[in-house]
């Protein structure tokens, strides 16, 4: 079983939940920018939540399925069709063999994940199927997908097979059949709120007090110099340090860190960020809001709201519990008539 890339879209790559354990070798965790949407898409097709899927950016690919497949598209609002019929998001969908799913532009947000039951069966590199585009390894030959690529798909789980059968029972001749239910919006990140909750960074004390205040009050615009490594933000006025010299000796950094180079305009590090850095860190976006950040694009405006570490961790734990709820809900839906 495989899926064929008919048209690649703007930037489509294989991503999973990322590679853990290799940051000490300078290898970024990487993986899906919006890990919530990836995990939800996988759970909706009966996969383990961290399986490899297609990460789609701004303008999606056209994909052809060689066999009947259970798929799910989650993330930003992408206009997707099979033939003339609109393709729904945030739910499992049976797609018939030979069908072509055309994923168009994002009308809201910027990234989405197409998960297939069985997962994308590309080789593991350091325990992960994520593509490290900068270093050129992992995923599908270490690069973005191109027209003609054929990606092998693994075996659907027993849960996926049950969901497939239920969709097939009412599909008739249609090219695809969606489940009549979807992931609850109640469980989702605060997409579209333009607010990122963040804790103070380790070097917040090195900034002037009025700069820290402004950072947590003013709106920032995402500049065109933004990609999977990080987003350069543009604010009304540069942030200023109290003393002389901004550089600190290099230390580990990770996705979510907001570092401030000498020009005073902050950079929000994202999935493919370098593992170490030497710029002072004024804040760190809470893990629960990284999916919200992942849906930003050049021109988006965003502001930061300070929360405590305790609150950030409580939100993280609740998010994990909600994903467990989704997993359970999918199992229940597969079992009921």
């Amino acid at each position: 079983m495989d899926i064929r890339i008919v048209k690649p879209g703007l930037l489509t790559s294989v991503q999973d939940a990322g590679r853990q354990g290799y940051q000490k070798y300078g290898v970024a965790v990487g993986g899906a920018m919006d890990a919530f949407a990836l995990r939800a898409a996988n759970l909706l097709v009966g996969n383990p939540d961290g399986e490899a899927a297609l990460e789609i950016t701004l303008l999606g690919p056209t994909v052809e399925f060689s066999c009947d497949s259970l798929v799910s598209l989650c993330g930003g609002s992408f206009a997707a069709h099979i033939g003339e019929a609109p393709f729904p998001l945030w739910r499992p969908v049976l797609v018939r063999a030979g069908s072509r799913l055309a994923i168009g532009r994002a009308t809201a947000g910027s990234r989405a994940y197409l998960a297939v039951a069985g997962g994308l069966d590309v080789p593991l590199a350091m325990g992960s199927r994520s593509t490290d585009l900068r270093a050129g390894f992992g995923g599908w030959h270490g690069r973005a997908l191109q027209a003609g690529d054929r990606l092998p798909v693994g075996e659907p789980s027993p849960l996926a097979r049950r969901l497939l059968q239920r969709c097939a029972a009412s599909a008739g001749d249609a090219a695809f059949r969606a489940a009549p239910w979807c992931a609850s919006p109640r469980l989702m990140p605060r997409y579209g709120t333009a607010e990122l909750r963040a804790v103070r960074g380790p070097e917040a004390g090195r900034f002037r007090a009025d700069s820290v205040r402004r950072f947590f009050a003013e709106a920032y615009e995402v500049s065109p110099q933004s990609d999977r490594m990080g987003f350069r933000l543009a604010g009304a006025a540069p942030l200023a340090l109290t003393g002389a010299g901004g550089d600190m000796i290099s230390a580990a950094v990770c996705a979510g860190a907001v570092q401030v180079p000498p020009d005073g305009q902050p950079i929000l590090l994202m999935a493919d960020a370098q593992t170490t850095g030497g710029y002072p860190r004024i804040a760190h976006v809470a893990g629960v809001d990284l999916p919200v950040a992942a849906q930003l694009k050049p021109g988006s405006r965003v502001h930061f709201r300070e929360i405590s570490l305790r609150e950030a961790q409580a939100l993280w734990i609740r998010r994990e519990q909600e994903l467990k709820e989704l997993e359970l809900a999918v199992r229940l839906k597969a079992g009921w008539t």
């Binding site: 853990q20 354990g21 290799y22 940051q23 000490k24 070798y25 300078g26 290898v27 590199a125 350091m126 490290d132 900068r134 270093a135 050129g136 390894f137 992992g138 804790v199 380790p202 600190m248 000796i249 290099s250 230390a251 580990a252 950094v253 990770c254 979510g256 860190a257 370098q274 593992t275 170490t276 850095g277 860190r281 760190h284 976006v285 809470a286 893990g287 570490l309 305790r310 950030a312 961790q313 409580a314 993280w316 734990i317 994990e320």
Partner: protein
């Protein structure tokens, strides 16, 4: 270093959070042999006995950053039914686990660091900036090579790119500022100088370093375990090789340095 018992607790340190899923242990803000030993001892013990919920740790000049999964820690703590005490968040739990490791007397000494010899073809097409560095330092190119290959370097940390070493120990006599205009692409394996630092680019990237040579050694091999030739704590020596030796090396190896 071998055979000595180290007590990292004897060098002052502090703990602070990095975001909501990591804690940093910091031994001051000055690069020093003491800080390095404290770091190596701590990393060794962390890796031998990771606390439940720890995902990985990253050593740097004066810090060790310990990444963890707050949900895993929360669930384990709930299941254990332990008294809350001072622990009211995953961060507090991790701090107490880290403090316990730091205050333990190590049961063995720090492992002898690995010494890695990096063969380098200096100058010519592989080191286009060697003559500039020599002129800027008032030396001949041969003297620059001699000074660069003379010491043992310490790998303080790996970062910036997969396998890229931050090396300590370069002589000030060959320190040279970065190029005013960075190159769009520096070939993988390039050995360079930037200010008082020296290093090797494992991958082809843009860069402003003064390139004095190139190694045929692939420093990053994603298909091997570990995926890098160098790790934090290793000792590095540079060894000058001829152009013929460089070419023999690259044709013999199955995975060229790129």
């Amino acid at each position: 270093m071998q055979g000595q018992k180290e007590r990292p607790g004897s060098l002052p340190y502090r703990l602070f959070p990095l975001g909501d899923r990591a804690v940093v242990v910091q031994w001051g803000e000055t690069i020093s042999a003491d800080a390095h030993r404290a770091i190596r001892s701590f990393v060794q013990r962390l890796e031998e006995a990771p606390f439940p919920g720890m995902t990985e740790c990253v050593a740097a000049y004066t810090t060790v950053t310990v990444y963890y999964d707050p949900y895993h820690i929360y669930m384990a703590w709930q299941r254990s039914g332990e008294n809350a005490g001072d622990i009211d968040s995953p961060y507090a739990y991790v701090c107490s686990a880290v403090e316990a490791l730091l205050s333990d007397r190590p049961h063995r000494s720090i492992d002898q660091p690995a010494t890695v010899v990096i063969p380098v073809c200096y100058g010519g097409e592989y080191g286009p900036d060697l003559e500039h560095v020599a002129a800027a330092c008032g030396l001949t190119p041969a003297e620059v090579v001699h000074i660069h290959t003379e010491p043992d370097y310490l790998v303080h940390m790996i970062g910036f790119a997969p396998g890229f070493p931050y090396l300590g120990g370069m002589s000030e006599r060959i320190a040279t500022p970065r190029r005013a205009v960075p190159r769009v692409s520096v070939p993988a394996g390039s050995v360079g100088i930037a200010g008082g630092q020296t290093g090797v680019y494992p991958l082809s990237t843009p860069g402003g370093w003064q390139l004095i040579g190139r190694t045929p050694l692939a420093l990053f091999r994603p298909d091997r375990e570990p995926p890098t030739v160098l790790q934090a704590g290793d000792t590095v020596r540079f060894q000058a090789i001829s152009r013929e030796e460089f070419e023999a090396w690259t044709s013999a190896s199955s995975s060229p340095a790129s």
